[in-house]
Symmetry: C3
Subunit: 337 residues, 3 copies
């Protein structure tokens, strides 16, 4: 079917693939396969169902609000919704109120995506990326504590008074391999190495450079988190890796023109993301919410904001959100002269 047609199915699959900045329906289908596999293994299907509802509601809301048609067709209004839909059932027990919550949350993610686009992107040249998911997710999970119809799984708001001290032994090679793939799977909140491998396959199908960046990001995250002595139980689940993976991809391949200097810049950004992961885990703990992809979002915003520094041709707009497309999403006026 022709590109930019408003076929709802391709809108939705592309929305699913855009979590990794990829506009590719096949990749989106593989991402759903990765979620379904993890649900099959765990027996918990609410996450996959939630992700499906999320991307559909977010995309339809964008159509209803007359958001830019090309952007909707490219999936740019769907990827925050799919993450909201996957995340809420991960942290909140299923109930009628949860499903109302998922629907409202997915619709709101589209409004917030439009809000970020009209301000942060249009005025400051910073892509919103998964920022709307992080904001929606934080509000909905924190709010869940206040409502008797919603039950948050896990420990609830706490002050982490006991922190890890000293260095742990390096994990065995087989566990390192699991961590490598889980780092990728956790972008979709999947601590399952097979799911991570399916997702990586989907990325390589869409773009070889994107795949290489993801592989590199996962390796850097392992090296830094283990070298700094992060809690082995958290490292093992892939929870130190998913944000650095996104940073490596976004800063190294998607938003800046490739060069040796950009590669070095992306390396600094990726290492920084591991540190920010450790920081945000501590900072958001009292509110009882997970940090989601906030470590990636915050680091990427800071590293992309001064992007003129590393964009040697100021008259060519920085490449937009899409792999393969040269969308002039960034406002040219953000190129300071």
């Amino acid at each position: 079917m022709a590109k930019q047609s408003s076929n709802v199915v391709t809108d939705i699959l592309k929305g699913t693939s855009q979590v990794f900045f990829v506009e590719n329906a096949v990749t989106g289908a593989l991402f759903f396969a990765a979620m379904a596999y993890a649900s099959y293994v765990s027996g918990v299907w609410a996450t996959t169902v939630g992700a499906s509802i999320g991307v559909v509601v977010a995309t339809l809301t964008a159509r209803l609000l007359d958001c830019d048609g090309n952007s909707v067709a490219s999936g740019l209004y769907g990827f925050n919704g799919v993450l909201v839909g996957a995340a809420l059932p991960t942290f909140i027990t299923a109930s009628p109120q949860l499903w109302a919550y998922v629907i409202v949350g997915a619709a709101v993610s589209t409004v917030i995506t439009a809000a970020f686009s009209a301000t942060l992107t249009a005025k400051w040249g910073i892509p919103g990326s998964t920022g709307p998911f992080v904001l929606t997710g934080w509000l909905m999970v924190a709010g869940a504590y206040s409502f008797g119809g919603l039950h948050v799984t896990g420990d609830g708001p706490k002050l982490a008074t006991e922190y890890v001290q000293g260095l742990a032994p390096v994990p065995a090679p087989i566990e390192l391999l699991q961590i490598f793939f889980r780092n990728i799977g956790q972008v979709y909140l999947l601590g399952n190495e097979i799911s991570g491998a399916i997702i990586l396959l989907g990325i390589f199908i869409a773009s070889i450079p994107a795949g290489i960046a993801v592989v590199t990001g996962s390796l850097i995250a392992m090296l830094v988190s283990i070298g700094m002595g992060a809690d082995p139980a958290i490292v093992s689940q892939g929870l130190y890796g998913f944000s650095p993976v996104l940073t490596a991809l976004a800063v190294g391949v998607i938003f800046l023109k490739a060069s040796p200097k950009v590669a070095l810049y992306a390396l600094l950004a990726t290492v920084t993301t591991v540190f920010v992961q450790g920081a945000l885990d501590v900072i958001v703990a009292p509110a009882g919410v997970p940090s989601f992809t906030a470590p990636y979002v915050l680091t990427m915003y800071l590293f992309i904001a001064p992007k003129k520094l590393l964009a040697p041709h100021p008259h060519l707009p920085v490449a937009g959100h899409l792999v393969g497309h040269e969308h002039a999403e960034a406002n040219p006026s953000t190129e300071l002269t």
Copy 2:
């Protein structure tokens, strides 16, 4: 007396009415009557006195700083001050230091109002509304813990480790009626149903559509908060309603041009505000501060930022802050093309 004259009394009464986006001295006088009635019932006059000091100091500060004369005369530099003045004595015991705090806080609210106006409004087209009050209030109440001359009433910083579980029975009709009016009174921090009724009267005097939006907002807040199983003790005081009331009014009537689609959009925004109320209560608890109108402010900012979506005539500026006036407060350049 002629409009736009710099009569201090009308400046102040309009500043008081602008809490509900209304520029009407009679409405402002009724709002003061509502505060005085609640003080009479409770025997605590510090709140009404504080509100009076707050609006006077904020308005005079705006005159001293040469803020835009028409805006001052319309009360746009007074409504954050009146709220600061009402809020601080609500949460801090009276003392000489409190009154110094109220005066400085009210003056600072004017500076912050000007700061938001020069940035958020002028650059991004988002009205500051009661955001300056929320920021001032958070800083002053949190700061009060640090000063021995100030005593914060209530529990202080805490982690809410015990949250409500399961659904409570629906309140009796008479209590529902009380909640309906308290939802409105709490915009002025008044958990008194008679005060809420006086405020609603003041709004209807100024604008029928504004009154209808307020009524609808209060009803939606009741329905959603009870349906989601919010803590009945909090719902009963009207604390789940005052932010949704403001959202319904702001998104449904004040900042967007009325249409069926805007009504649906305002409905989504109002429901979202109830969820955000639950979220921010949890998020700000460790700092020992109330959420004030932050649930309204955050939701409104996010829903108004992409306002072009719902403003079908891009060459007509979105209506400004005032009911009845077509102030071109929003920057036309925020209308993306």
Copy 3:
């Protein structure tokens, strides 16, 4: 040596002096002497070593990223790095991981400085000042709890449930004198009165008005913090004074054109900073981080954003970051008409 040459040593000394908005290599050398003296007294040299590494790494990173050459030569990319380098060893025990942390943190402070410059300054006319240090410092110290190779000294994340009540006696004159100088020394995280006196000397060498503002700021901070009943143990270390000192200097001398009204405005800003100090101490405590210069940064941002109010000649750009230079750093388009 000629100004604007890219001599690394003067870049670095000016970067050190720019913490107080001064571009003067002699002043920078005196600031290093103040740090070294405090290290000599305490026997802890990691802070002085860290500061040296921080300013070098931050400045070299700016050169590598092709940041504006004049700004680098003026030290504008070094002062956040020197503070990051001084702060991290103050709160984290020395280890190989700490030094990796200092190097990455200093490099990141340059990226964040560039990010703030491209957004907050270029778009909204607000100078970034030590905001990048605060953000970097918060993330790095909070992150340190998560890593076994890093050990945070002090108490860690907590809810300050016991706050000071009532007023304490006024300190003896000799202690007041110590507090006066410590208020200045703590800008460099030095609770040492001799170090504070050396820093004050360095400021007076560079600019008499800057010195007067710093003296006034320290006196106001003492008066307000003691008058409000702040915890005497904290006041005594100078921890209520360093942010107000910076506010008095920034608002009263650096960013606005001097006038009686600006002096009054700076007074309000300085008093407000003392209150915000009390507030942020409470707000950031659950994350286990110090408030750093955030009270100054937040207050200054809010008071400078509407600067047109107090800049009577809108066609002359507001003076930039430097004492003595009339850099047109502020975007003229931020002068609302």
